[in-house]
């Protein structure tokens, strides 16, 4: 329970003006993390799409909620996405440029749908 509260507080701090136009400088573009987990929510909104992911539990530790920022619906559509390309309940692996402060938010770089193997560029 304590771990969950801590994890959630990290995520709260991590979401940085995610719904408006902004620089991506808060993300460390020199780092790449790979997350595996289940999609809990997709918000297909301008100017940025948000994907929430609960990572798989690992060696006895509960999964962690991450919020990933993606480019705009228009830019995604032109990259081959639709608003249902990723849905709540989908299991995914996702490449992430994480927030510089180490909290659980990041910029999406690429998604693999684990059941179908389909890859989507962010």
């Amino acid at each position: 329970m304590t771990r969950q509260v801590i994890a959630l507080s990290f995520v709260v701090a991590a979401v940085t003006s995610a719904q408006a136009h902004h620089s991506s400088a808060m993300y460390d573009q020199q780092k790449t993390l790979t997350l595996r987990g289940v999609v809990t929510q997709v918000r297909w909104t301008s100017p940025h799409v948000n994907v929430s992911v609960l990572t798989d539990s690992d060696r006895g530790h509960a999964g962690v909620a991450w919020v990933l920022e993606v480019t705009s619906p228009g830019n995604l559509m032109r990259a081959g996405w639709t608003r249902t390309s990723i849905k709540a309940g989908d299991r995914i692996s996702v490449l992430v440029a994480p927030l510089r402060d180490g909290t659980h938010g990041g910029w999406c770089r690429g998604v693999t749908l684990l059941e179908s193997g389909k890859k989507l560029e962010c």
Binding site: A13, H22, A25, T40, R43, S46, A65
Partner: protein
């Protein structure tokens, strides 16, 4: 006699028509066939960033110090959110730093620019020969008049709110502070490349007129349609209320104004 009466009527009608056209300029006066600017136009963002170093702005010393501070803050991972409040990117920042596509509509006497991602991206450029108002109401995109020089659209814009940014990125820019004047020459530079050559005069923050060219690439096809975008939509969740009505509900936010993600199940 009958033919003479007809001739008089025709001459009278022509005189009336001429009088009208003298009073209000003809739509797109002087223009030949207009160019094909159909499709959507995607900004060259890499070129936007490259010009930060290759074509620096002639900032006043005081503004240059602030730009340096903002640049350092962004480099350190603490970018200022110039547009995080969802107000329009506005003139001239929309043309300078947007990452989103736009489209043009040609109608008699007017060119309209519509931008993706925010419903508030809209420029009306009057090409019917009218002058600027003597005292235009300040607005985010200002008052724009244009004319065609061959296949080039020349646009003159004044009346922009002093709060709108002259920006080099989404995190580095300063308010124009008043007196902004923008002259643009928009034209094709190839089948699918559009250039916007801007000359920006902002006497409160620039020591001289700054010129820059922004590049846009055309896309066409069903996946290239402009999508509706409402910047604040992301601040609301789509839910069903106790009456069964579909409603928008404000997303919980942190003290910093950031939305809170759903808790882990």
């Amino acid at each position: 006699m009958h033919a003479k009466a007809l001739l008089i009527a025709v001459v009278a009608a022509l005189a009336v028509a001429c009088g009208r056209s003298a009073g209000t300029a003809a739509p797109n006066a002087g223009a030949g066939p207009l160019p094909d600017w159909s499709g959507i136009w995607v900004p060259d963002v890499e070129d936007q960033f490259a010009q930060i170093d290759t074509n620096p702005l002639p900032w006043t010393p005081e503004v240059a110090a602030e730009v340096k501070r903002l640049t350092a803050a962004e480099a350190a991972g603490h970018p200022k959110g110039l547009f995080a409040n969802c107000l329009p990117e506005a003139m001239p920042a929309w043309m300078l730093v947007s990452h989103n596509a736009l489209e043009f509509l040609f109608t008699p006497g007017r060119v309209t620019m519509l931008g993706e991602s925010d419903g508030n991206r809209l420029r009306r450029i009057y090409t019917d020969g009218r002058p600027h108002p003597a005292d235009p109401d300040p607005s985010f995109h200002g008052h724009s008049i244009g004319h065609w020089e061959g296949q080039t659209l020349v646009v003159d814009t004044i009346g922009v709110l002093p709060q709108t940014y002259i920006a080099v990125s989404e995190a580095v820019g300063v308010p124009n502070n008043g007196g902004l004047h923008v002259v643009e020459r928009m034209h094709l530079a190839g089948a699918d490349v559009l250039l916007d050559e801007l000359a920006i005069t902002a006497p409160k923050v620039l020591t001289t007129t700054w010129t820059t060219t922004r590049r846009f690439t055309r896309q066409k096809g069903p996946n290239a349609d402009i999508l509706e975008g409402v910047c604040l939509q992301g601040s609301f969740a789509e839910q069903t209320d106790s009456r069964g009505d579909a409603v928008f509900v404000a997303v919980p936010h942190t003290d910093e104004g950031n939305p809170v993600p759903p808790p882990a199940p």
